[in-house]
Symmetry: D2
Subunit: 362 residues, 4 copies
Amino acid sequence: MNSIGKLFIVTSFGESHGPCVGVVVDGCPAGLPLTRAEIQREVDRRKPGEGAAATARREKDEVEVLSGLRDGHTTGAPIALLVRNEDVDDRDYDRIRSLLRPGHADYTALVKYGGFADGRGGGRFSGRITAGFVMAGAVARKLLATLGVEIAAHTVEIGGIEAKAASFEDIKTRAAQDPLRCADAAASKKMSDLIAKVKAEGDSLGGVIEGVAAGVPAGLGEPVFAGLDGELARALLAIPAVKGVAFGAGFAAARMKGSENNDPFALKNGKIITTGNNAGGILGGITDGMPVVVRVAVKPTASIAIEQATVDVAKMTEATIKVGGRHDACIVPRAVPVVEAMMAVTIGDFALRAGIVPRVIK
Amino acid sequence: MNSIGKLFIVTSFGESHGPCVGVVVDGCPAGLPLTRAEIQREVDRRKPGEGAAATARREKDEVEVLSGLRDGHTTGAPIALLVRNEDVDDRDYDRIRSLLRPGHADYTALVKYGGFADGRGGGRFSGRITAGFVMAGAVARKLLATLGVEIAAHTVEIGGIEAKAASFEDIKTRAAQDPLRCADAAASKKMSDLIAKVKAEGDSLGGVIEGVAAGVPAGLGEPVFAGLDGELARALLAIPAVKGVAFGAGFAAARMKGSENNDPFALKNGKIITTGNNAGGILGGITDGMPVVVRVAVKPTASIAIEQATVDVAKMTEATIKVGGRHDACIVPRAVPVVEAMMAVTIGDFALRAGIVPRVIK
Amino acid sequence: MNSIGKLFIVTSFGESHGPCVGVVVDGCPAGLPLTRAEIQREVDRRKPGEGAAATARREKDEVEVLSGLRDGHTTGAPIALLVRNEDVDDRDYDRIRSLLRPGHADYTALVKYGGFADGRGGGRFSGRITAGFVMAGAVARKLLATLGVEIAAHTVEIGGIEAKAASFEDIKTRAAQDPLRCADAAASKKMSDLIAKVKAEGDSLGGVIEGVAAGVPAGLGEPVFAGLDGELARALLAIPAVKGVAFGAGFAAARMKGSENNDPFALKNGKIITTGNNAGGILGGITDGMPVVVRVAVKPTASIAIEQATVDVAKMTEATIKVGGRHDACIVPRAVPVVEAMMAVTIGDFALRAGIVPRVIK
Amino acid sequence: MNSIGKLFIVTSFGESHGPCVGVVVDGCPAGLPLTRAEIQREVDRRKPGEGAAATARREKDEVEVLSGLRDGHTTGAPIALLVRNEDVDDRDYDRIRSLLRPGHADYTALVKYGGFADGRGGGRFSGRITAGFVMAGAVARKLLATLGVEIAAHTVEIGGIEAKAASFEDIKTRAAQDPLRCADAAASKKMSDLIAKVKAEGDSLGGVIEGVAAGVPAGLGEPVFAGLDGELARALLAIPAVKGVAFGAGFAAARMKGSENNDPFALKNGKIITTGNNAGGILGGITDGMPVVVRVAVKPTASIAIEQATVDVAKMTEATIKVGGRHDACIVPRAVPVVEAMMAVTIGDFALRAGIVPRVIK
């Protein structure tokens, strides 16, 4: 199932080493000002940086608009977008085809697709498909901007190194400019050093990303089975390597008392707010008008140059494997804009469901 | 949206203080042996125990079968089930109607339903609606049993007290018999004492539940947007008070190196296994044949007898509130069978999607 | 799949001879004034009349509200409704269980449900389940009334006898009071005579129903795959015995020239209208502001007391069958309110999709 | 909503005069042998012929595979396909932009998309988008072939001229080679003459297409709301210009007695069959093993060179219009492969839902 969303529907296609990675965005109202350049800008944010965490694969990732935009506006028709795969190098992958890579979907894909899946570079399971997510996110973000909703994510932990808490302003500015997408420069430096060290060992690191959506109106969410939290979790778990999702205080809430965890209500300029945000902006699956805050756990990159035990499925014998190729030692920073994109796509869908987006944007 | 599932579709209805709580289960193949008594047994497991954690509300919760079962088998038609609400006491609720209860959905429901929602006892947001989840789960568990899939959950943490790791056997036996659904008797005792203490203070506790599905065949899951993890997360977040979901090593994976987190593959009796299970049985959104392991963070009960700051929405003034009524000081134990139910419902749906359940069970 | 609709979701349950027939309506906004009595009124319209066409089965069909209504308004929660089956007589059915009834779903149900389906009285395939459709329709009609949409259907043909064209006013008044739901009294008399004659022969008749929705705003419909016409067709074909659906001029349009079939545009009081309505109010899957007009072909009642060739599935031999029991000789009149209901449910869903229904009705 | 299907999901994108027309097919099992050339062959069948009915627009329609196929097999990933628009001539369209074309979706699109829709050549409402349907159909037909299902459609009526009944063999051979896709050569000649005559008058014709699916196993269909008939109707009504859909005897069944319309059951080589097929292979929404037979009414081409009354929406005045451009005087023949495609897509989806397609095709 490569579609997500009910009224704002995103369909993903493409593989890591096929002709392209793309997306169809259906349900975006007509009249939204949107240019190819704006989508390109989001895609560019997902590109690998120059630092220690980065892959050697370099794609131009030039966005091609196949449908749905005309004269700088959405037309109401499905918006099909793609980026071509150009810097494709199959050599490393073919060598290890029969050896299951631990932590990868090689085995599960083999069971499900019976050896027919295009496994080069991870195929559909590659982080590369998130280029499509980001293109869809660009559309959603532009739509949400008409409602005053802004979304920003940042790296809050890598390899156990935690960043200090950051304001939304800091996330939008400092984190956006940091090579590791971390708003805390000191922590970023430590993370960077650790990544370099671990990379030199052929190993990899994971981390935690926090996403924040500010300006989300109260009342979005469709309990009991389509609460905003549940749908966000589903969307975020579609990002490769994400293993956990938690809202507001998240797992820490499980250790609090009710008197600590409950966010008191108060009035501010005649408007109901909460004075804390342990709820992460969601109560009963519905937004309460506070920022929506979600944390996602990203596991360490599965591709490592260290010898691991595995199985050779051709011979059905036990074996060992070292995974070569061009991999990020830590994909956390590159996943930051993807978290933003999936948040945007999900919240955009709920804005449409709630009927608060006009049928035609004017 | 009160339906979940694609081929095994569960529709929830009913409110805490309305006539009943019910569920319609659509898509269960015909021929599955299933009796009212079997569904009743699951519902009984959800009832409050005798211990400190328990509510004073006592419901008979007698399952009424409205459709879809005949002669001890499913017919292939939708299975409609309900339990009546009988021990309904509106008094405490009416008194505080205009005071928003912190940590509850009072405010978000007000925004979304404009004061028309049946707010008595939490209405649709009450834990009571999970009686319907458990009835649906009973159907799904019976269906999964035909595939050799077993599901069991247990309390692994309450108020910061952690239980020792437990085998699947222990979860099924020890935890099932423990009043707090904890497999570790010593930890359970400590948790129980802490609950009693906190309850006496008018406060409440949260915790963590671990759910395990054993015998799940490899190959279930529909990436990229309907991975088993994403769909499980969505289903589990529909349980009131759940604030986070994580698979396998979960957030701990974010602190591991790739060499620590990757589960090596090996052969066992000619079958491919992994020698660890940090992945929680899911790689790339698809089951790998290892047990599916998920943890959910449950926040402390929002209803506490301690004075909290809030807003009176009738007067639009700041105010304070103490929430009376009959509440569990810790709902974690009662959520355990609900976690099992939502796991069963989700995995059952994927078994149907994968085409591994016969059209008619014989 | 016993659910239909995207935002206004109707889930049907129950069998002809089980405990009840019911429905869950999910997605209706809160605040809609709606009483049990109003739903009852619609259900009463579906009851068999006194005339020749009628069945002998007499049900009280008292609507029971299980959830979703309080103090005369919708609450925003799922609305669960049922009517009990009371006048159940299994005798005739059991006798012929192994003989497939021609024109019925006995054989297809046997293949699909492997003999586990509750076949008494047609089970899920009985016209009786449309009592649920009508309850859902009652909710949808009330919702549409807030937009000024009115829906009325009438019998336009029975056994080849055609009624004269009728105005919307005539459909709402004359047809509603006619025992055959026909606005043309003379034709109704002839139809009635023919039904009596054919019934005496143990045979049955079909006919054509026309449904009209007036006041539907232009702009409803979600092409290309969820045009209003396509979704209406799907909803109407869920009514047992419906074999065809056509919009506006329908199959007659296939014999027209473009110059005859095209509806010219004109201005009326500054508003764009068409001066004809061969399009049935739908162009490109989207409403154009003219009345939505649809015709459905209803096949003759399959249960006839005339000997027919069939197969005995127990013995796997050829055999003959005469179908006894209490059947309508012509179900067309009773299907009229069901056509209205399914139109209401579908158009109501599209009104929600278009965002023209407020989140809370006030 | 530009997606259709539950497990075999087709997403359409592209406009008549944009860069391309395309489709994403999601849910096709891995391992299905399928080449670009096979898809091309189906697309070529949709091209305009040389006869009187044809448009002057000539597109190469070269199929481009963006994803989902590798080494001559499906991979299990979404299959994205497109054809470029090359022979695009905007001139005629721009001239009449403010004049609503009667019978077209100009007005409804204006209401829905507020003037932002790409209206050139009909945009999303053009018959050209069915090139995408046909590409999706090519995938579905290949999938269905593995189950022994064959689909063929033919022209049975144009401008009131009816073709003789045709065997499935004749449909597959004679109709496939006839310029009007009519199996009755004599009727085809008359139709052709009539089209030439009407075209010379600047007018257009409609007609009726019959689609037949042979070899469909009994048991496909998901009543009550996803019967095969309902879903087929929805899919077929997505084809521009289709105004009605009827199964088996269709509207003629409404004039039969039960004794005439019921298809008697019989045994043939130990297998249950019906000796007639007034049901069109569907009873209770489920296939009965007989050929699935459906008729669709196609209205006459809306674009005619005859002066028609209309409204100028720029000036909001009444006006007249003659529609120039390159149009088929009768699109019925070109719609024939599109009917086949939508039948294939729908039946393919139900085969997957029924679990009778292997997870991996081998």
